[in-house]
């Protein structure tokens, strides 16, 4: 499987108190553990089981994910611009893999 590639779409600046949209996606098979290979063996589960968005270290949006999340998991969610700083996006994969991205947000 190719290495998962995370991407986010976030405004670079917002006004104080503004609600802004975040789009986050990662290329990932999201293997459910329910499928079998051609020899009848179960293909082991390997999914992104958690996604967290930190805003200056505070986990402002968290998603616990199960097998029923589609491949290439995509989330659109909404945050309030409280202060300038760092948004960090973290995807946790079964087996300990971690993928992340960071973004600087200016709150004017």
């Amino acid at each position: 499987m190719p290495a998962p590639i995370p991407r986010v779409q976030v405004p670079s600046s917002v006004t104080k108190g503004e609600i802004f949209q975040v789009k986050a996606v990662i290329s990932h098979q999201m293997e459910t553990g329910l499928r079998h290979d051609s020899e009848g063996n179960v293909i082991p589960r390997k999914i992104i089981h958690k996604f967290v968005c930190y805003y200056n270290g505070v986990d402002v949006f968290v998603a616990d994910l199960h097998e029923a999340i589609a491949a290439n998991p995509y989330f659109e969610f909404y945050l309030r611009g409280t202060e300038s700083g760092r948004l960090e996006f973290v995807w946790q994969e079964d087996g300990g893999g971690v993928y992340s991205l960071a973004h600087q947000l200016v709150v004017a």
């Binding site: 609600i19 805003y55 998603a63 199960h66 029923a68 589609a70 989330f75 659109e76």
Partner: protein, 146 residues
């Protein structure tokens, strides 16, 4: 009239299909029962939860889902989490989303897998422990869980 095997099969299929049509009321009871089993608490059906999904969708692999909950999101009145369940999937839990008062809105969109036509259920837990629930019928043509 002699029924062919095919006609018999179709008659049986029709009967089977009608037996599978769940009324909205019994689906609510079923959903509430399921939530009670999972949480120990009885949810109230609420129009503050908006669960938007297509009524019919060609494939079960990537069905769009949008959730929006009416809430002030203040310290004293906010949504803590919202859970999404697909009761007719082989594994019924879909996702849980957590929100923070003053910082995030209880609103999210994603894409999910559905194994068969079913009521998708969402329930939110408020800061005072109240559970609110809603459901929406989605008809998928192919199994998204295989």
């Amino acid at each position: 009239m002699d029924l062919t095997r095919r006609e018999l099969f179709l008659a049986g299929a029709a009967e089977f299909a009608s037996a599978n049509v769940v009324s909205a009321a019994s689906a609510s009871d079923e959903a509430a029962e399921l939530i009670k089993r999972l949480t120990g608490k009885t949810p109230a059906e609420s129009n503050r939860l908006h669960l938007l999904m297509p009524r019919t969708f060609p494939n079960g692999y990537t069905v769009p889902l949008s959730l929006d909950i009416d809430s002030l999101m203040t310290e004293n009145d906010h949504v803590k989490h919202v859970h999404v369940l697909a009761p007719r999937n082989p594994l019924i839990e879909v996702a849980t989303f957590h929100f923070v008062p003053q910082r995030s809105q209880p609103r999210v969109s994603t894409r999910i897998r559905l194994a068969e036509p079913q009521y998708v259920v969402a329930f939110a837990e408020l800061n005072d422990g109240t559970l609110l629930m809603t459901k929406t019928w989605v008809e998928v043509a192919t199994n998204g869980c295989e």
